[in-house]
């Protein structure tokens, strides 16, 4: 219970304002532009854009819009465990597909 009170108040302590989120939105739109730009250059660039910029955009949404930045460690661990699990599923599946 005490833990709960702590974390609840910790969360309430710092509310970011409108400005932060608008800046993040601008960044997201710019990144989308870059992604489109890269895909126009060549297929290779498009794939690199997919592998780098897309996770970055998703990370921004998670970190700011979904308030992960303002939460304790637990939620970050939950997200990382999930992504890690998916990554391992992916790798093990490709141990079959890529070497068949």
């Amino acid at each position: 219970m005490s833990e709960h009170v702590e974390q609840a108040s910790e969360h309430a302590a710092e509310h970011p304002g409108y400005g932060t989120f608008i800046k993040v939105w601008v960044a997201l739109v710019v990144l989308t532009g870059c992604l489109v730009g890269m895909s126009l250059v060549s297929q290779t660039y498009a794939v690199w854009g997919l592998l780098t910029l897309t996770p970055l955009k998703a990370g921004l949404v998670f970190y700011f819009f979904m308030h992960l930045r303002y939460e304790g460690p637990l939620f970050k661990v939950v997200v990382l465990v999930t992504l890690g699990t998916l990554l391992i599923f992916f790798a093990l599946l490709f141990s079959d597909v890529a070497f068949r």
Binding site: A8, F21, V78, L86, F89, F94
Partner: protein, 200 residues
């Protein structure tokens, strides 16, 4: 009944995040299927991707990103007890979400018009890899569309609750959780855009 005597906002958010975990893994399964098939049919996926309308895809991305922004701004507004502003922001989100669906339906309509839909006679004449590409395209964007509809319904209720003061400065956990869901829908689209429209 009992148990509601104390309020556990952190617990509610934890529950919501755990639900989002299941959503991430659900789409994760589809992404895994996508990469498996793409690995097998790189050329066909490229060709299939070139038939999609990049402009509409990008416009839809910006629409969804903006709708995410307005949700998060609505939370800020509620925290500052600016009820009218919060309602405006949420209303904007709803409009943008609907816009997304309308654009999406135009896109699907065009595909159907060209004889590109699952099991269509035209599709059957294409190489196998492209059939799989369009199968995945319709499955993934369709499932995402269903999530958009679900998210819009949830946010519609949130708007109603803000209007009737069930969501207010000292009690906005439902709005936060609804917002979390909406952002996840946005994140999934962030991945769908390059997978189908840009880098395929």
């Amino acid at each position: 009944m009992s148990g509601h005597l104390h309020r556990d906002d952190f617990g509610s958010r934890l529950g919501m995040w755990l639900f989002l975990v299941t959503e991430m893994v659900l789409f994760g399964g589809l992404f895994i299927a996508y990469s498996y098939m793409r690995y097998r049919y790189p050329g066909e996926f490229h060709h299939g991707g070139s038939e999609l309308n990049v402009t509409l895809g990008v416009i839809n991305t910006v629409v969804l990103l903006t709708s995410s922004l307005t949700v998060v701004l609505a939370i800020v507004a509620v925290q500052r007890a600016e009820k009218r502003r919060a309602m405006t922001f949420l209303g904007t989100t709803l409009v943008l979400g609907l816009t997304f669906l309308v654009i999406k339906s135009f896109e699907w309509g065009a595909k159907f018009h060209h004889g590109l839909y699952p099991n269509s006679p035209h599709l059957a004449t294409l190489p196998p890899g492209e059939q799989v590409f369009f199968g995945l395209y319709f499955t993934m964007t369709g499932l995402h569309g269903l999530h958009v509809v679900a998210g819009l319904s949830v946010l519609g209720v949130m708007l109603w609750w803000v209007a009737t003061d069930r969501i207010r400065q000292d009690r906005y956990i439902h709005l936060e959780n609804g917002g979390l869901y909406w952002h996840l829908v946005d994140v999934i689209w962030i991945f769908l855009l390059p997978l189908f429209y840009l880098a395929a």
